[in-house]
Symmetry: C2
Subunit: 419 residues, 2 copies
């Protein structure tokens, strides 16, 4: 597209692209914007290196003019968007990219890849955190998703309120708290479960978490208490009927005097399984597969659409395709989350950029400047970005109507209104 | 685990870990091993750098002894496994890692991440290729999955028989054929559809693929033929009722004399949608979201389990946990795909390594040496690895009973037998 547009001259037309999802995943009440910080980190480094250009040239994919254009590529446009962690609804324009066609066009795949993946994970994670109702959730799914996705998934889960991750690389890159427990292999490696527990306590002290379901749970809990003593930090259950086991292990720990020893459960948890454990004496949840695969919705299905571009005279023209079932709304947009007198969100109000602000709705403007003339604005990237996104997410969810807390399938929790 | 095992001395015990899936995704007849080449490429580079070690040290995650161990980490063990592209069934031991506990343990997350992701994509892709019944399938899903997953997904799709990908990085790294078409934005960028088509034909010649559903399909097809002439390569349909549109567009193209112009369809295709298009005059399929998300099964749910380890005297001991619903089979295993007199696969036969070969079954041994004493064996990595995997996959699928071709939900196509 860039090559053809460089030839036709249209490559330098000022364009506005918007990122949005036409719908939420089946039955979901709201979505969560995540990945914005990663998009901005990637944008600052977005370059075509010698290896890439050499390949494109050797394979004859692109002509010289286009290769030269890409060799000098530096994004110099402006991006507005939802702050990371914000709740989104169908058609919410969560990102608005203003740049020449060529500059904005080459970003499409990267921008969508990041936002589609990270928002899918955060949207699932938010429901799990809600179901956990204050008990900590720990991300433990790295092994069930692509190795790069694993780091991004840990980050997205943190944005949506997960307390920690077992992914150390996510800790290193994004400052997310990390923790881990032993696997069954560690117990099986030793000649007996007692030896394994003793080795772990020797290495990490009694505050460690011992995995107690490799052989017989009751025997393991008794051994764990005998070896680690009253200060045993936690035991982990990873199989079987977790509700029943949590009750019996709690009773056993209490009877042995280990009232402070916590119980961590894992094993194919999702938001529904977590909700079913609400009345069980569980202290925290380790969540893996269902988190990193978006709990049934592994992509947010966001699209990156041209909504406005200049004509030859430099005047903006709203554009939209007419394809069956995939219509979009032309023109650059602004958004207000309308808030009622009780502080509750009541609608996602979308209007043209530049339309009068007095439209009969009161609320919060959702789009903030993320990049101005190629310069990434401070506060959105790195560990600071993740912390701010966590905060934003908490506030944004707190503002939603009570129906947002329902895990059952339903309609978006507030309507999207086009003015 | 490594730190505690270094303290207890068990870290250096020789261990055997096996990778397998307890079950196929709901209703699937078979799975496809993919990612083996990427595992081997990663294994050769598996190091802990200063940045990683510094983080682990600064955060107090590990002690000095463990940091020193990781700083010197080089895998020196031996790995056998299914050749990439091979079909697998429940409990197929697709990888067997023999090394010290510490060496094998730290590989778990990386190995599973790669195999779980890539095998999930290849398993879905294989069904799509089967449904397409000879018509080429093109991978176009990069934007709907994490940016790293996108490259891996393109590779996995190629292993399972996809003809090309729109992901240029996958072309560069793995030698996969690449192709692309224009998006709706390219048409909308120009003052008219004709201008857009003319720009594309000017840049790429008449053999290009023009997207004809931005406004009105019939008008667009007529413009495309007028501008590109009788040598127009293809038109792409990306919305609406594809069966109906393919028929009417084919008739229109033929009536205009463009009998050689091909029709490419995309728009939320999966194996079922492809099967429904079997009787429509379609020449190739562009598959995106449903491919890169595994068509409902985004992870292969493989696990990495310790099955054997030495005791203090250096004698191998088979080990297995007894956790409810998650039992595994102890001891290192070998596998035979039993083949009947007609050349058809009839069972996945799993036996202990070292058990007599004369077991009453005839067939193919499925495990090949991938790494010997730390040295990656030739032929499995890079572009060569992908090509060989494609070939292996074709042969392996051809050998399956006819039920393998059914897209409806069912049992694994051949049983898994433990001797």
């Amino acid at each position: 597209m860039v090559q053809a547009a460089l030839r036709s001259g249209a490559a330098h037309r000022r364009c506005v692209f918007e990122v949005f999802a036409r719908r939420l995943p089946e039955g979901r009440r709201y979505g969560v914007v995540a990945g914005t910080g990663r998009v901005l980190e990637g944008l600052e480094k977005f370059r075509f290196g010698d290896a890439e250009l050499g390949f494109l040239s050797d394979r004859g994919v692109l002509d010289e003019q286009t290769l030269d254009y890409l060799a000098d590529y530096r994004f110099s446009g402006t991006v507005h968007g939802y702050a990371e962690g914000e709740v989104y609804l169908p058609h919410s324009p969560i990102l608005r990219v203003e740049a020449s066609f060529a500059q904005a066009c080459v970003l499409e795949t990267f921008v969508l890849s990041v936002l589609n993946h990270d928002s899918a994970i955060a949207s699932a994670a938010s429901r799990m955190v809600m179901a956990a109702d204050g008990r900590p959730c720990v991300e433990m799914g790295s092994r069930r998703t692509n190795e790069g996705s694993a780091v991004a998934a840990a980050r997205a889960a943190a944005v949506a309120g997960f307390s920690a991750t077992s992914n150390l690389e996510a800790g290193r890159r994004f400052g997310i708290p990390t923790l881990g427990t032993a696997a069954h292999a560690f117990t099986l490696l030793h000649d007996s479960e007692e030896e394994a527990f003793a080795a772990q306590v020797e290495a990490f002290g009694p505050g460690t978490t011992l995995l107690v379901d490799t052989y017989d749970v009751e025997t393991a809990v008794r051994s764990a208490v005998k070896i680690a003593g009253p200060k045993l930090g936690a035991v982990r259950l990873d199989s079987g009927d977790l509700v029943e086991q949590a009750h019996s292990v709690r009773a056993l720990l209490d009877s042995l005097g280990n009232r402070e020893t916590r119980i961590i459960v894992s094993s194919d948890l999702d938001e529904h399984a977590i909700a079913r454990l609400a009345a069980a004496p569980v202290d925290s949840y380790g969540v893996g597969t269902r988190l990193v695969t978006g709990s049934g919705a592994p992509t947010a299905s966001m699209v990156y659409k041209l909504v406005e571009r200049d004509d030859d005279a430099g005047n903006p023209v709203a554009v939209a395709k007419a394809s069956t079932g995939k219509t979009s709304h032309g023109g650059a947009k602004q958004v207000l989350r309308s808030i009622d007198d009780h502080g509750r969100a009541e609608a996602e109000v979308i209007a043209s950029v530049g339309s009068p602000e007095e439209v009969g709705y009161m609320g919060r403007a959702l789009q903030v400047p993320l990049v101005i003339d190629g310069v990434v604005q401070p506060g959105f990237t790195g560990a600071e970005g993740v912390q701010r996104a966590q905060q934003r997410h908490q506030e944004s969810v707190a503002e939603l109507p009570a129906d947002a807390h329902r895990l059952s399938a339903g309609e978006p929790v507030i309507p999207t209104v086009f003015l």
